[in-house]
């Protein structure tokens, strides 16, 4: 799918391609945690919002269990889709209305999606989903969001999503606002959901360390393009795309020796990168070739993952490889 944002004033705005021909699929039978990683402005959140129906793609569509859910009009259909696909948001303190009690959202879910007939059964369903995240109803009944800690609130948010037993969770930066020491409890929770309740999770983050810890597959995004997509160990332990290499190299490692080798070149002109015709990384790529400047690199399948780079494309290999690099 593709998403072009119309930026700028009321009448003559400039075009900005936030997401450029991204396509991927999740296997219904095999629950999986798929990560979309990238810096701010890489379009990873836009992908998530398109799947959730908060943004309509300019072209391409979202197919859920065989049904095209890109443009849902009828409310009944929307409810059915939302029952199966639930979001988890970034800021726990903003996820809940500060003026309403936290548990009201859980009962709202039980009510609107009719997960059960009688009131007791609904209460039991809510209690169950709270237990699956390690909380009890008594703990959060009648409490306001500001009376709970960030970690607790995020757990309640996950519990809210689990009330309707969804099969796919879209988590947009779920742990970036949670304290480092509590972060792992939420991350472990996602892994547990996958194994125990076979819920697939689309994990959107800029924190590659947590991504490595829990996800099965990862897609690295840069300015709207998926530059590398494949199995987590292949992509993160032996990255092919130059951008992934620099990204992984720049992540500070929590052990004293893991300091960075040499300096890197920082580009100060982000906006130009967006409108670049060829490869979006041409500006900063140490292996940039003339072809990278204007020709969009193709997707190449190379040892277990897809990479979008001219270095690995077949027809380039034998003709121009010899030419010295531009930068």
């Amino acid at each position: 799918m593709e998403k072009v944002f119309h930026l700028g004033g009321r009448f003559f705005g400039s075009k900005l391609k936030a997401v450029n021909r991204v396509n991927f699929d999740l296997d219904a039978k095999k629950p999986e945690i798929l990560t979309f990683a990238g810096e701010t402005g890489s379009g990873k959140t836009t992908v998530a919002r398109m799947i959730l129906g908060l943004e309509t793609p300019t072209s391409g569509e979202v197919i859920y269990k065989g049904r095209n859910v890109t443009h849902i009009k009828k409310r009944k259909e929307l409810l059915e889709y939302m029952k199966e696909v639930q979001p988890i948001f970034q800021n726990p303190f903003e996820t809940f209305n500060p003026l309403k009690k936290v548990d009201s959202y859980l009962f709202e879910m039980a009510e609107n999606y009719e997960i059960a007939k009688t009131k007791e059964e609904k209460q039991k369903g809510v209690e169950e989903s709270l237990n699956s995240v390690g909380l009890t109803l008594k703990e959060i009944k009648g409490r306001y969001p500001n009376e709970l800690s960030g970690g607790q609130l995020q757990r309640v948010s996950v519990a809210r999503a689990l009330v309707t037993r969804p099969s796919l969770l879209i988590a947009d930066e779920p742990v970036s606002m949670v304290d480092a020491s509590l972060r792992m409890s939420i991350v472990n929770l996602f892994a547990e959901l996958k194994t125990k309740y076979n819920v697939s999770v689309l994990y959107i983050t800029h924190d590659l360390a947590t991504a490595y810890y829990i996800s099965d597959r990862i897609a690295i995004m840069l300015r709207g393009d998926v530059v590398e997509f494949g199995d987590i160990d292949k992509v993160m332990l032996s990255p092919l795309h130059p951008y992934t290499q620099i990204l992984l190299e720049s992540v500070p490692q929590p052990d004293p020796e893991g300091t960075w080798k040499e300096d890197i070149k920082l580009s100060s002109l982000e906006v130009k990168e967006f409108s670049r015709l060829g490869c979006k990384f041409y500006e900063r790529c140490p292996f940039a070739m003339k072809i990278c400047k204007d020709v969009e690199p193709p997707y190449v399948f190379k040892d277990g993952r897809e990479v979008k780079c001219h270095l690995y494309s077949e027809e380039i290999k034998n003709t121009e490889k010899s030419e010295e690099t531009v930068n």
């Binding site: 948001f89 809940f96 209305n97 500060p98 309403k100 709202e108 306001y144």
Partner: protein
Amino acid sequence: MFVILKDLLKRDKKFLFGFTVICILVFLAILSAFSPYDPRSWNVVPKDKPPSFQHLLGTNSMGQDIFWNTTHALKNSFILGLTAACISTIIGTIVGLIAGYRGGVLDRVLMSINDSFIVLPSLPILVFLSFFLREKMTIFVMGAILSIFSWPWGGKQVRAQVLSLREREFTYTSVFSGMNMWKVVFKEHLPFVIPWVIANFINTILWALGMEITLSVLGLTSLETPTIGTTIHWAMQYQAIFRGIWWWMLTPIILSIIFFVALYMLSVSISEFLDPRTRLQRIKMGG
């Protein structure tokens, strides 16, 4: 509701002043029902008597007792203010909600009209309008006319509130919790919009009364029904100041000063108190 009232009275001096003054004025307005004299008839009492025990605020050159006349003036002014405020708040909130939620072309159209009404100088047009409706002018008609120019301020504020609320994360949480649009609006967003609506309601009363005084001084309202404006008009007409009948002119002036300042204090303290940020702090204090 009473807890909040007690809370406010204890802590916020502005509210204390505003609330007590408004209560006194309301009491006076109610008192008008027991007035021995008919406000419309003249020469009921001896003319131009200074304030005395018999006539608390003295009498005017039209032979009316100023005290009882003022109670009627208050009643009519309250009615006028409330009608103007109700009409314009309803229109403004609806326009604000539609523009805020619908967005797109409708939002732009509504907002351009809204902004035009704000920029337009309302007085000449109001004068022009009430000049033509002079024969049919009653308090309610005057209220409706005034609301033509007071609804855009409310609309602009409500729209700004709605636009910011729509982007907040808890709106998406409620949408994904299966709540339909109306439920989201009334259960999630209204508690945030209400403080603005109330503060705006009071400001509209303030504006409407100010405008009423202006139009009555120009002689464009129904001059026989007593309001603050018409009392000033007759006082000017009979050159009260020249002839030294100071008490006739003084009552409406002091009355309007207290009335307007009290209303303003009330609107400032209410919007401060009900503003979610401070309310949130109060909840945190277990207040």
